[in-house]
């Protein structure tokens, strides 16, 4: 589904990713771990198409060359990024945002836009699955949400938009154990044979709940080690320092 070949990315003329290869197939869960400053978030940003990066190399997503696509086109093609710091948009009702977002994606998929009633029914269902209070949906988008609420909102959006590839950028950071479980349950309930996940994290913690097929260690802009779920546990004991 996602093939990255020799990806280099720099921002403000500083090289961050220094030749990264990654191959994610349908139905797989990949985790990327690594110390601060290793380029984890840069990878998420570059995949989503965020402005400001100079890139080299190849990224193909479902056979399409991603590099030429705008941020929203990538999203419409089924790429979802759960933000490390979800943005607050004052004055914008969460439901309204979610509906606009869903209908943009549906339109790109050639599906009919949902009317308000159908949408509300759908979003209520999804919110219930994640144990999210309905009241939260009529509040301004992320404004005054706690860290946990913001992250749950990201997972809600993921389930709503039904992406092919979901990238979770340190979604576990700042979460208490209950919120972590909700996020993990959300991911596990959405995971199926037709989609894939790329989970970026510092800690093994989240991987206790979401079992990855592969763990990659990113260091100084390159993947230096790839292993199965046991690698995470090993890293927790030995740290990153002993790897390089």
């Amino acid at each position: 589904m996602l093939k990255i070949k020799n990806l280099k990315a720099s921002i403000n003329e500083k090289l961050i990713l220094k030749g990264l290869d990654l191959d994610i197939k349908v139905g797989e869960v990949h985790a990327i771990m690594g110390p601060n400053g290793s380029g984890k978030s840069t990878l998420a940003n570059v995949l989503s198409g965020k402005n400001g990066y100079e890139t080299e190399g190849e990224i193909s997503f479902d056979g399409i060359n991603l590099i030429d696509l705008k941020i929203e086109e990538r999203a419409q093609k089924g790429m979802f990024l759960a933000f490390q710091y979800p943005l607050e948009i004052p004055g914008v009702n969460t439901n309204n945002f979610l509906k606009t977002s869903l209908n943009s994606v549906r339109k790109a998929r050639g599906e009919k836009a949902l009317d308000t009633l159908t949408f509300l029914k759908l979003i209520k269902e999804k919110a219930k699955e994640l144990n999210i209070d309905e009241k939260f949906l009529s509040r301004q988008l992320n404004v005054g949400f706690s860290g946990g609420e913001k992250k749950k909102n990201e997972i809600l959006q993921m389930k709503l938009l039904e992406p092919k590839l979901s990238i979770l950028d340190e979604t576990d950071s700042g979460l208490d154990i209950d919120a972590l479980r909700v996020v993990a349950d959300g991911v596990n309930s959405y995971k199926n044979k037709k989609n894939a996940f790329l989970i970026i994290t510092h800690y093994q913690r989240l991987l206790d709940y979401i079992k990855p097929d592969y763990i990659h260690v990113l260091s100084a802009g390159k993947i230096i080690k790839t292993g199965n779920a046991d690698l995470g546990k090993q890293l927790e004991k030995t740290g990153y320092a002993n790897l390089s």
Partner: protein, 478 residues
């Protein structure tokens, strides 16, 4: 939309006729022009005298020039002061002659074809719905004793009311443009709501026959008698074609004891082209007097058009416990300029005022909030709350906030909050990542920024205004 939407009924004798010869006063600002206007409107002598008094006063006044946006000198002797109805030869023959950009906007706003033609002054030899609707409305209003007519008609039919209230909020000698208007105004609206009456519908110039082509010097007078309520809508979300460069309208509102007036404006006059050539100078004087106790006047404005917008809809809070509100969105794009805000003059005890101003600048535009809050010595226990937010899009536009605050009463309080923000790249990125394109994202964020003001608009107006906000800023990011 197609031509079948026009309900053609040529036999209807009250339908629009376009064969009337154009009647025009000769160019120039002088007593003869004023007499010409007064005469053609068959005005009583007191009205002419009033106009002439204003004209006399005008000669001793100077055009103000303290405002931020500057403009080339206007030659007042080179203008026509009366030209109505315009002859059909002056008008565009069809929509083909209209700027395609304007037509594009109509499409986005979903304005019906007939309405598009009306807005552009195209002769429509057909009776369209709004006219018959207006007649029905008029009947209903008359039953309740509500007067809603043109100011010219009111001068003829309700001279006592006009004499009593005209110029009582904006005096003859107020300032240059207001005085100019008093001398040469050609038409406008008149509303009177009798005591203890709630006007059953939103009054709008749209529903008044003869509403269009009131010209550049419009005059509006609204009186809400004791215990009454009225909501008045001015303007239209669709862009209006107009050859007049200068618009100097006067609007006076009077609320007596326990009365409430809500006045909403959507102004979308021609803003000039991308390079700042052409466009309307919108120099309007709007002022309301909360004359009675417990009265309330609320101004809501969405200003998206005009090359220069220069206006301060104000409230004079005379009655004890009276309330003044000002909700404003001013959007300037390309080379547009706005210098707008309000004046809240607290005279009565326990008077309250609230100012919410949202200024948005894009392109090379310049947007100034200028406002005065003046709490008089006798206005004890009065309160003002002001919030001015500016949103900048890009690096070449400007936002300025100029608050004047005077509190002469120690029991009264004034709060002022102001913020200036740039449209946040991260917010746009977040929206894009959720599948929204740049325009949808900007529209969503800006409408969120303006929400407190948009909420004040009557429902059907609010939906269109939201679309308009987005359209006004198209192409301003990215």
């Amino acid at each position: 939309m197609n031509n079948q939407d026009i309900n053609i009924n040529k036999d209807y004798k009250y339908g629009f006729t376009t064969d009337i010869e154009s009647i025009r006063a000769p160019k120039g600002l002088n007593e003869d022009t004023i007499k010409f206007i007064s005469n053609i409107k068959k005005e009583p002598k007191w009205m002419l005298d009033w106009r002439l008094k204003a004209f006399k006063r005008l000669k001793s006044l100077k055009e103000p020039n303290w405002q931020k946006p500057k403009y080339p000198k206007i030659n007042y002797q080179d203008l026509y002061y009366y030209s109505a109805p315009k002859s059909s030869s002056d008008k565009p023959k069809s929509l083909d002659e209209i700027d395609p950009k304007i037509l594009e906007t109509y499409k986005k706003l979903g304005i019906p074809l007939v309405e598009q033609q009306r807005l552009n002054g195209i002769a429509v030899d057909a009776v369209f719905d709004s006219v018959s609707v207006a007649t029905t409305f008029k009947d209903e209003l008359t039953k309740k004793g509500i007067i809603f007519c043109s100011i010219s008609e009111a001068i003829q039919k309700h001279p006592d009311l006009v004499k009593k209230y005209l110029g009582s909020v904006i005096p003859l000698s107020d300032h240059y443009f207001a005085t100019l208007n008093s001398a040469v105004f050609t038409d406008g609206s008149f509303v009177y709501i009798p005591p203890n009456t709630r006007c059953p519908m939103e009054l709008s110039t749209y529903f008044r026959i003869n509403a269009s082509e009131t010209g550049q010097f419009e005059r509006t007078l609204i009186i809400a008698d004791k215990g009454s309520y009225v909501s008045y809508l001015e303007g239209c979300t669709a862009p209006m074609r107009d050859e007049n460069q200068l618009h100097a309208a006067n609007v006076e509102l009077i609320a007596l004891d326990d009365a409430e007036i809500k006045y909403s404006t959507v102004q979308n006059w021609y803003p000039g082209d991308k390079n700042g050539v052409g466009g309307i100078y919108n120099f309007v004087t709007k002022r309301g007097a909360c004359r009675g106790k417990n009265s309330k006047i609320s101004w809501t404005q969405v200003e998206t058009g005009s090359a220069i917008t220069w206006k301060y809809p104000s409230c004079i809070l005379q009655g004890d416990n009276s309330v003044g509100e000002f909700y404003s969105i001013a959007i300037t794009n390309n080379h547009q300029k706005a210098d707008t805000g309000t004046k809240m003059i607290h005279l009565g005890k326990n008077t309250k005022s609230k100012i919410i101003s949202k200024g948005i600048s894009a392109g090379f535009a310049d947007n100034t909030y200028r406002g005065l809050v003046d709490i008089n010595k006798k206005a004890s226990n009065s309160r003002n709350y002001t919030q001015c937010d500016s949103l900048l899009m890009g690096n070449k536009c400007g936002a300025h906030t100029v608050p004047y605050i005077k509190n002469k009463n120690s029991t009264s309080t004034i709060e002022h909050e102001a913020t200036t923000t740039k449209i946040n790249e991260e917010q746009l990125y977040y929206c894009n990542q959720r599948g929204l394109d740049q325009e949808e994202a900007v529209s969503l964020i800006v409408n969120g920024f303006c929400k407190e003001v948009l909420q004040q608009l009557p429902m059907e107006f609010a939906v269109e205004a939201q679309k308009l906000v987005a359209i006004s800023l198209e192409g301003s990011v990215g």
